[in-house]
């Protein structure tokens, strides 16, 4: 029971990560694959942020009345990671649009069919 209480955040992370992973490998639609990648990404964010939390800690903005702060380092890393994440997502979506133009579909199986038939 104590193990359950003290590690639940990691389990949530693992579960989310696996859902994202499942979408990426099992779904044929390219847009949905990108959504899956996003979920995977968010699970990593949550892992970092929850590692930075300290019980009884407060947000890392200095204030005289507060003594315990949560760890600011993961916050910095994740903050930049999110913005880079949106940039890569945009790039992926742009690729999807180009693929749609070239093949007329965004289903993986159909794209492969066309590649083989050529």
């Amino acid at each position: 029971m104590t193990l359950l209480m003290s590690h639940y955040n990691y389990w949530i992370v693992v579960a989310l990560m696996m859902v994202g992973f499942f979408i990426v490998i099992a779904q044929g639609n390219l847009v949905k694959k990108i959504v899956g990648l996003n979920i995977f990404q968010t699970s990593v964010f949550i892992l970092y942020i929850s590692a930075g939390k300290i019980h009884g800690g407060s947000a890392p903005i200095l204030n005289d009345s507060i003594t315990v702060y949560s760890n600011p380092l993961p916050h910095v890393l994740i903050l930049t990671a999110i913005v880079v994440g949106i940039a890569t997502t945009a790039l992926g979506l742009a690729l999807v649009i180009r693929i749609n133009k070239a093949y007329g579909t965004i289903e993986e199986s159909e794209i492969q069919q066309r590649d083989h038939s050529c």
């Binding site: 639940y8 389990w11 779904q27 903005i61 913005v83 945009a90 289903e107």
Partner: protein, 317 residues
């Protein structure tokens, strides 16, 4: 609840529903970050995860269609793989430190120094900003360069051809009087709020990344109501390209100036007589650079997507 939303995304076939659930998912994870004391991160995630990324997905869907095909052939294999990987990872978590304990290895090395010393060394209350902009300035410079590169990538993939001259507002929402007036009232406060976030980043949650996204959101709102063409008369894409490059250059030149003044690259202490003042100036300027780049790249990406869409609609009509 995060997990439930994720499952919903897996099960849903209609891609618009997927996108909307992604938006809800973004809100949820952002609230989670607030609970975890990561206010700066929550700020960014709210703007990006719940705002911009569903928007871009919607624009993509508008072009590629919203129905997903049934494709269940590899499901069993995939499920097996996922379960095995998940089980292995869960076994791995038993070695991890307890959630929230103050003695975890992550808290014992460099972080205490940041917490104890940054107030004296940098002189601004928000530790996240001081670490981001000063201690890890190199890293952030790299991130800005990555964003800039991604912007260029999208631009080269979806190059916006000079659109044929259209009647203004042809693509806008002329019949939505209420929406247009409300958004007209709202856009100036949004831009003002972005500036507040930009310059208040030293004292509260906020900074260049968030401010850039909010600023972009304001312009995107304008574009949605008045059409890409009208918005481009206000902020043309050539200006945006120059601005995006200018932000990166501003960041880099701060580093060079500090080198000229006898310090290391991106060491702001030498920018002024008093090291603390120098740090203040340095952080303010590089945050401005970050903000300009992020805003310009986001709007640029949005123009690319929206421009594609309006072209397609024209072609269909």
């Amino acid at each position: 609840m995060l997990f439930a939303t994720a499952i919903g995304i897996v099960l849903s076939r209609d891609l618009i529903a997927v996108v909307m659930l992604t938006g809800i998912y973004g809100f949820l994870s952002a609230s989670f970050f607030v609970l975890m004391d990561a206010v700066d991160v929550a700020f960014t995630e709210a703007a990006v995860g719940a705002g911009i990324s569903p928007l871009l997905m919607l624009l993509t869907l508008a072009m590629v269609g919203r129905k997903e095909q049934a494709n269940r052939s590899r499901n069993f294999f995939a499920l097996m793989l996922v379960t095995i990987t998940g089980a292995l990872l869960i076994i791995g978590t038993f070695g991890m430190p307890e959630f929230g304990s103050a003695n975890a290895p992550a808290h014992t090395h460099v972080a205490p120094r940041y917490i104890e010393q940054s107030g004296a060394e940098i002189g601004i209350p928000n530790i996240v900003t001081s670490v981001l902009a000063s201690y890890r300035g190199f890293d952030t410079f790299g991130e800005v360069a990555v964003i800039f590169t991604a912007g260029i990538g999208v631009l080269s993939l979806l190059m916006l051809k000079p659109a044929p001259s259209q009647v203004p507002l042809s693509n806008g929402a002329r019949h939505h009087t209420v929406l247009r007036i409300v958004s007209k009232i709202l856009i100036p406060p949004i831009l003002l709020f972005a500036l507040y976030v930009q310059f208040h980043g030293d004292y509260g949650p906020g900074g260049g990344f968030q401010a850039g996204v909010i600023f972009a959101a304001g312009i995107i709102l304008y574009t949605m109501f008045f059409g890409v063409d009208v918005a481009q008369q206000v902020v043309s894409s050539a200006v945006l390209r120059v601005l995006a490059a200018f932000g990166v250059l501003l960041y880099g030149s701060v580093g060079l100036v500090s080198m000229l003044n006898g310090g290391e690259f991106l060491n702001y202490s030498v920018l002024a007589e008093n090291p603390l003042t120098g740090q203040h100036i340095g952080i303010l300027v590089i945050e401005l650079g970050v903000g300009i780049t992020v805003a310009a790249v986001m709007v640029m990406i949005f123009y690319c997507f929206a421009g594609q869409q309006s072209k397609q609609v024209e072609a269909e009509e």
